[in-house]
C-alpha cells in the first residue's frame, strides 16, 4: 500500500484535480514544476534557513511529565505552538512563498477560516515584500477580530467572502474565483492539505518538517526514531499530514487522527467528516466531505474555527478508507476540558484545535511503555476569549 500521491494526483481513490478549465494553466504550471523547484538544493537551503532563523525551528519535542503521569503513558508534545505566528501554518507559507517567487508571481491570495493561515500568509508576504490579499468569510471576520487586525498590521488586505455560508469554504471559493480572474501574476497559497493536485502533496511536503524533526529528536531522547503513535487533530489536515508523513510507511507507528465532533457526531452540529462525510468533490479534490444526499456541501460546526471545514484532505480520506489511520471524534466539551488540563498540568495553553488531539485519552487507552507523540499544532492566545467564556474563568 502506498501513501504517496501517484502520478495522476491520487491517494488511492482520492485526490485529482477537478477544476474549471480557467484554472488549468495555473494548476498545470504548478504540477509540472513544484517537485523540481522544491528539490533544488538552493531552494532547500533557503527554506531551511528561514525555518531556523525566522520561524525558530526546530520546534522542541517536549516530554510532558505530569500529563504522562496522569494518563499512565509516555507523552511527547511536538511544540508547533512555539513557531513564529503561533502555529504550524507558517511552515507551509514559507515554502509556498518561495515557490511563488521562483514562478515569478508578484501577487499572493489566500483563504482563511480562524485567521491563522491568513496571518501566516500575510507574514511571509511582508517578509518578501509581496502584495497579499486574504479572503475570509464575513462571519469569521466578526468572530476572529484579533487575527483580522494582525493581518492588517502586516499589510495584507482582508476581503470578506459574502457568498453562501460566509465561512471558510466560501472564502476558499472566493480565492479560487480571484485566481480565475488573475491567471498570470498571482499565486494562491492554500493553507491546508486540500485542493487540486499538487496542493495536497506540496502542503504535506512543507509540513513534513514536523515528522522529520520528530524522528531525530525522539532518537536523542528515547534511542529510537519511531514512536508507537503519532496523534494530530484534523480539519483539512495539514498539521496531521506533516506529523504523519515520515511514519506513513512505518507499520510499527500507529497513526491517530482526531476530528471535531462539535456538539456530538449525530447532533447536526459537527465537523466529524470521516463519520458524516461521503466521497465527493470539494474545491477541486475528490475526498470525503459533508454533504446532503443531493450533493450540496453542508456547513460543519466546531467550537474550533480551524477545524470546521466540511472535507478532509485526500491523504486522510485514504488513511481512513484503508484503515491505516485510526480516527476519533472529540466533542467541544472534551476538547475544551483537555485544553484546560494541559494548561494546568504543563503550563501550556493550547489552541482549541490542538486541544482536540489532547482529548484522545478519552477514547484510546495507551500502554505505560507506549511512546505517544501529539502534535501541539498551535498556541491558545487566539482562543483565550472562548476558553474564558466557556469555563466562566
Amino acid at each position: 500500500m502506498s501513501y504517496q500521491v501517484d502520478e495522476k494526483g491520487y491517494y488511492g481513490d482520492f485526490g485529482g484535480a477537478y477544476i474549471p478549465e480557467m484554472l488549468y494553466p495555473n494548476v498545470e504550471e504548478l504540477r509540472t514544476t513544484y517537485l523540481d523547484i522544491i528539490n533544488e538544493p538552493s531552494f532547500k537551503e533557503e527554506f531551511h534557513q528561514l525555518l531556523k532563523d525566522y520561524v525558530g525551528r526546530p520546534s522542541p519535542l517536549y516530554y510532558a511529565n505530569r500529563l504522562s503521569e496522569k494518563h499512565n503513558t509516555k507523552v511527547y508534545l511536538k511544540r508547533e505552538d512555539l513557531n513564529h505566528t503561533g502555529a504550524h501554518k507558517v511552515n507551509n507559507t514559507i515554502g509556498q512563498i518561495l515557490v511563488a517567487k521562483k514562478l515569478g508571481k508578484n501577487r499572493i491570495i489566500a483563504e482563511t477560516g480562524a485567521g491563522q493561515h491568513g496571518v501566516a500568509t500575510a507574514t511571509v508576504c511582508a517578509l518578501m515584500g509581496i502584495e497579499c490579499i486574504v479572503y475570509m468569510g464575513e462571519i469569521d471576520i466578526k468572530r476572529q477580530a484579533p487575527n483580522v487586525a494582525r493581518m492588517k498590521m502586516l499589510g495584507a488586505e482582508v476581503r470578506p467572502a459574502k457568498s453562501g455560508s460566509k465561512t471558510l469554504k466560501d472564502a476558499t471559493n472566493e480565492a479560487i474565483r480571484d485566481w480565475i480572474n488573475n491567471p498570470v501574476d498571482t499565486h494562491y497559497i492554500i493553507g491546508s492539505a486540500i485542493g487540486p493536485h499538487p496542493y495536497p502533496d506540496m502542503v504535506t511536503r512543507f509540513q513534513s518538517i514536523i515528522s522529520e524533526e520528530i524522528k531525530w529528536q525522539l532518537k536523542e531522547k528515547e534511542g529510537r526514531e519511531n514512536p508507537d503513535y503519532v496523534v494530530a487533530c484534523i480539519g483539512g489536515g495539514s498539521n496531521a499530514a506533516g506529523t504523519y508523513y515520515h511514519f506513513l510507511d512505518q507499520p510499527d507507528v500507529g497513526i491517530i487522527a482526531v476530528e471535531a465532533a462539535g456538539k456530538g457526531v449525530n447532533s447536526g452540529e459537527s465537523a466529524a467528516t470521516s463519520q458524516l462525510g461521503k466521497e465527493g468533490i470539494i474545491h477541486g479534490c475528490k475526498t470525503l466531505l459533508m454533504q446532503t444526499t443531493d450533493g450540496q456541501i453542508t456547513e460543519p460546526y466546531s467550537i474550533s474555527a480551524g477545524l470546521d471545514y466540511p472535507g478532509v484532505g485526500p491523504l486522510h480520506s485514504h488513511l481512513y478508507k484503508t484503515a491505516r489511520g485510526e480516527f476519533f471524534s472529540v466533542t467541544d466539551n472534551d476538547a475544551m476540558t483537555a485544553g484546560l488540563e494541559l494548561s494546568q498540568l504543563e503550563g501550556i495553553i493550547p489552541a482549541i484545535e490542538s486541544s482536540h488531539a489532547l482529548a484522545v485519552f478519552n477514547d484510546k487507552k495507551f500502554k505505560p511503555e507506549d511512546v505517544v507523540v501529539i502534535s501541539l499544532s498551535g498556541r491558545g492566545d487566539k482562543d483565550l476569549d472562548t476558553y474564558i467564556d466557556y469555563f466562566k474563568l
Binding site: 478549465e21 480557467m22 466560501d170 480565475i180 450540496q296
Partner: protein
Amino acid sequence: MNRINQKLNEDKKLLSIYFTAGYPALNDTKKIIQDLENSGVDMIEIGLPFSDPLADGPTIQESSTAALKNGMTTNILFEQLADIRTTVNIPLIIMGYFNPMLQYGVEAFCAKCQEIGIDGLIIPDLPVAEYHEHYQATFEKYGLINVFLITPQTSDERIRFIDSVSNGFIYMVSSASVTGSTSGFGNTQETYFDRIATMNLKAPQVVGFGIRDTETFMQATKTGKGAIIGSAFIKHLTNEGVDTIDSFVKKIR
C-alpha cells in the same frame, strides 16, 4: 442526429440562454424554457444549482443560493422536466457542477437525461482528461453531448485535444474571469477569437462569459457560431420577473 448538432448545422448565429433552475421561484423552470423557445432562442442551458459554484460570479452564485433555498434538487428538476419534450423542440443542455451528478450516480444521471430528452451537459469542474478516461463511454451510450470550455489561456495543443474529444460545440470563455464579468470585449478578445478561428477546429465554437447585449453578442459571433448569455438574463429575471422574457431576447437580436 442530436438536436445540438442539428442546430449547429443551421445557417445562422445561435443565441443560447442560461438560467438557474428553481430561480426566481421553484416552479418557474418550465415557463422560462417555454418562453425562451417562443421568443426565438436557439438553445437553452438549464443550470442545476450547486452550493459552491466556484467558476461563477455573484449573479449566478446568488441565484443558485436562492434556488437551493427554494428547495430545488436534482430529483425535482427531473420531475419538472419530465414532459418538457411534449412542447419544447430546441436543444436543452444541463449545466452544473460535478458533485451533484456524482451523488446521483453518473450513469443514472445520464440515463435520466436521455429519458427526458436532454441533449447535452456542461460540467465546468469535470476536466477533459477525467471525462475521456472515465465517463465518455457512458455519456455516449445515452446519446449525450458533453461540452468543454476553453479560455484565452488554453494552449493550442490542449485546444486540439479538447476538439478531438468534443462531439458538439466548444464553449469559448471570452476572458480570464468568472461568469458575469462586465469588462467588455477589447483587443485581447479579438486576438483570441482570431487565433481560434484560424485553428479550423472540427467543433464549432460558442462564446460565453460577458455577453449581455446586442453589441457584445455581435462581437462574440463575428467568428464564433453563437453566444451564450447567463448572468445578464438572470439579472433581468431578478429585476423584471418572468413575464417579460420575450422583450429581453428581442433586445439582443
